[in-house]
């Protein structure tokens, strides 16, 4: 699942780049673990910043959280255990990608529902209208517009 997420994110059209406020002294010696830490950092909010992940933020709190994430990874936690640990400590607020829960279900379902609902409604309407017959004639031009049209038409060849 995590791999799939990562690859989907790679496809994402307006994806965040690997953006870094990570300090040299924080980096873990094992590259695999470090890259796990980085992936997790991108999903965690720096709570004192305005909409920044702890991976982006220079704030001291973000550094503490980055170190905490690495500490948990070093202790052998899985990614979801690390997230659980942080949510237990700081609440759902810390997750930049909210979990699917009672309070967030509407948010997650919005796009698919709108897409399917909108698509169906449009399809039905187009079919109904194309069955129901003839074109509605355009309203006739007012004399004023007739005059304007004549003026435009007579001007056309000269402007080209």
């Amino acid at each position: 699942m995590r791999r799939m997420m990562a690859t989907i994110v790679a496809l994402a059209l307006l994806a965040l780049p690997a953006a870094h406020a990570v300090q040299p002294d924080e980096i873990m010696s094992d590259p695999a673990r470090e890259s796990r830490a980085r992936d997790l950092s991108r999903e965690l909010r720096c709570m004192v910043c305005q909409n920044q992940s702890i991976d982006d933020s220079d704030a001291p709190l973000a550094r503490d959280l980055r170190l905490l994430v690495r500490e948990r990874i070093a202790a052998g936690d899985s990614n979801s255990q690390v997230l659980d640990f942080l949510v237990a400590r700081y609440g759902e607020f810390v997750l930049l990608k909210p979990r699917l829960e009672r309070q967030t279900i509407l948010l997650w379902l919005l796009a698919p529902l709108l897409l399917i609902g909108g698509g169906l409604a449009l399809w039905l309407q187009i079919r109904r209208r194309s069955r129901s017959g003839a074109d509605v004639p355009a309203p006739p031009l007012t004399p004023d517009e007739e005059a304007r049209l004549a003026a435009l038409m007579s001007e056309e060849p000269r402007s080209s």
Binding site: M5, L13, T104, S130, D135
Partner: protein, 660 residues
């Protein structure tokens, strides 16, 4: 004296706007040409007075008159002249004044260039413009007066936020506002059409150039803002799904949808009701963006609660205009006649699909931005919606959209032949597949979806080229004929080719940068060498320099590639004494579309310094894409067919007058 003049000019503009709000409408009701023509004069006079007010504020900033609170809080006598000027809109009051100035500019342009509009339509449009203007003049005068004096003027100002002292900021907000506020014109046209109860293809023809102008500026403004964030914020990120960015993305998505639906309306007289609704929604989203950014509600619901005057005022404006226009729409939309039948598989159908996907994308951004606020207020549940959420939801939406883009322009109006178009797009599809295979083989074992996304980008670009080749008969007809046809092709056709290709270009840039970005984070001492993506970056030394209103520490790096010295890069860290804050000035080395990016962290006591070096492959494509799109927009704007229904050159004015 200058401050008072500026203030007074703004009050006069409000007075003019109030007249313009009412008199032309009475004129339209009474069919009185003179009363309707009042709108034209007041719109031009408004532009004059708001312009004077804006120039007054600029002058105050330039001469560093610290007896004015706005100047004291945002300027410094040692600040370079350029940033004294751009500092005018680097703060709340000044940026609101810029907002109304641009609104007045658009109103003035409609008044000056709208001679070929039916008189009553012009009167209605300008009256609606004046309603918006009045609301915002009042907002500025009541809650955000930039001309307030300080009783005991301080000697020195508090300087502008250093992050904003940059050329990118000089251009970004005006561009963005030209886009935001430009959509007020299509809004006013929509309301005018609803009030008059009359809407036809000619209406779309008048609206489209204005929408296009706004869209071009918004596209460039967003791209500019993104590039500014990329080089100024110092960690190489270029899009953060920040609520402030979302506030500009929403009108862009809706505006892009509007451009396409107005096309259907102009060509086929269909989608009228929807186009009107989109015009209303696009500007409503611009207003919402203004509210989100200006009320402080984004930072926290509580920040909004502690100083609610401004927020509540804008919220009122927001409710009044969005609520009012939507009620008017609900009441009148039924009376608008639908026309132009089409089969689901047709160019109209493709444009409807485009609209569906763009509006869903827009709804996702809107929901993502407002959902946490609503949950906090209603359910006392604190949550965040950030980049990972948007990336996950946008990827499938935009994949669908981009897959459909090459088909749209090649389908026939009314009833299209999907199979035939697929056959004609075969070459483009093959090009995409070949690129996927090459990238796959080349990167071996990397992310599986990155080659697919790049292939999609190539498909979109090749699709746009195919459309062009088909229309000009390239490879089928003699070259001279092709050339002749290419010259005869409407500019708007060229425009859509460029704009669509721009999408593909941006996609490729985004995927390459995200997937193959290499980074190097370390503490470096003098003569240390970093190896990043085949480049050797050697730290030659650190030194200090005194700037006009800052001190900076510069690091000098010698960059070489395979033993050949390429360049010297000098990133720096600036400390601004007045504000006590610092900025990182990243150094960029451009090679083709790729960039080497160095930014500095903190220095240690032993003379070493934390350094971040990135190699960002094809990163510039991210911004070349939008530039191509905007260029396409400009080409389309220069199309003769649009100009016929749009602003007229002065020469034609004479001929048209008798008809009015």
């Amino acid at each position: 004296m200058i401050a008072e003049t500026g203030h007074y000019a703004l009050v006069l503009a409000l007075g003019l706007a109030l007249i313009q709000s009412i008199v032309p409408l009475i004129g339209a009701r009474l069919r009185d040409d003179a009363l309707m023509n009042v709108a034209r004069s007041t719109a031009l006079a408004q532009l004059l007075f708001v312009g004077a007010s804006f120039i007054a504020l600029v002058t105050l900033h330039v001469v560093s008159d610290f007896s004015v609170a706005n100047v004291y809080e945002n300027s410094h006598s040692m600040k370079p002249l350029l940033y004294k000027i751009t500092g005018v809109w680097g703060n709340h009051e000044g940026s609101m004044l810029l907002w109304v100035s641009i609104l007045a500019l658009f109103g003035g342009l409609v008044a000056a260039l709208g001679n070929n509009l039916p008189l009553s339509l012009r009167a209605h449009v300008l009256a609606v413009q004046a309603w918006i203007a009045s609301a915002f003049y009042l907002f500025i005068l009541v809650t955000s007066n930039p001309f307030l004096r300080i009783a005991n003027p301080p000697i020195e100002g508090r300087d502008l936020n250093p992050v904003l002292q940059d050329i990118g900021l000089a251009v970004h907000p005006p561009m963005l506002y030209l886009g935001y506020v430009g959509f007020s014109i299509s809004f006013s046209f929509a309301i005018a059409a609803l009030m008059e109860g009359r809407i036809d293809a000619a209406w779309a023809r008048w609206v489209r150039p204005w929408t296009l102008v706004a869209w071009i500026f918004l596209t460039l403004g967003i791209a500019m803002g993104s590039y500014w964030a990329y080089y100024e914020l110092g960690w190489g990120g270029w899009w953060f799904w920040d609520p402030v960015e979302n506030a500009s993305l929403m009108p862009w998505l809706a505006g892009t949808a509007l451009l396409h639906s107005a096309l259907v309306m102009e060509k086929r007289n269909a989608l009228k009701v929807w186009t009107i609704l989109l015009s209303i929604l696009t500007f409503s989203l611009s207003l919402l963006g203004t509210f989100l950014v200006r009320s402080g509600v984004i930072t926290s619901v509580h920040a909004f609660a502690t100083d609610p005057t401004r927020g509540v005022f804008i919220l009122l404006i927001l409710c009044l205009f969005i609520g009012g226009s939507l009620s008017l729409f609900a009441g009148r939309a039924g009376s608008l006649k639908q026309g132009g039948l089409f089969a689901p598989i047709s160019r109209e159908g493709a444009l409807v699909l485009n609209n569906l996907l763009l509006t869903v994308a827009c709804a996702v951004v809107l929901f993502g931005t407002l959902y946490p606020l609503a949950m906090e207020l209603l359910a006392d549940f604190k949550m965040s919606v950030g980049a990972p959420f948007y990336n996950l939801t946008f990827a499938p939406l935009f994949t669908l959209l981009l897959l459909a883009v090459p088909f749209g322009p090649m389908l026939a109006w009314k009833r299209g032949d999907l199979l035939g178009v697929t056959q004609r797009l075969l070459a483009a599809g093959v090009a995409g597949l070949v690129v996927i295979a090459i990238v796959w083989a080349w990167t071996r074992g990397g992310s599986a979806l990155a080659p697919l996304a790049i292939g999609l980008g190539v498909f979109v670009i090749a699709g746009a080229m195919t459309d062009l080749a088909e229309r000009t008969g390239l490879f089928r007809l003699p070259f001279a004929t092709t050339l002749h046809r290419a010259r005869g092709l409407p500019r708007s056709a060229w425009g859509s080719v460029f704009a669509h290709a721009g999408l593909g270009v941006a996609l490729i840039g985004i995927v390459c940068e995200t997937t193959w970005n290499s980074e190097y984070i370390a503490t470096m001492k003098q003569n240390d060498v970093a190896h990043v993506a085949g480049y050797d970056v050697k730290l030659d030394g650190l030194f200090q320099r005194q700037g006009p209103n800052f001190r900076e520490m510069i690091a000098e790096f010698n960059v070489s590639h395979e033993g050949e010295t390429l360049s010297v890069m000098t990133p720096s860290k600036r400390s601004f004494t007045t504000r006590g804050s610092s900025t990182t000035e990243a150094a960029l080395l451009t090679r083709g579309a790729s960039q080497l990016y160095i930014s500095l962290g903190d220095a240690t006591a032993e003379g070493a310094i934390a350094v971040r070096i990135y190699h960002k492959p094809l990163v510039l494509l991210i911004w070349w894409g939008p530039v191509l799109m905007a260029f396409g927009g400009m080409l389309s704007l220069s199309d003769r067919r649009l100009r016929v229904g749009a602003p007229k050159p002065a020469r034609a004015k004479q001929r048209l007058q008798p008809a009015e």
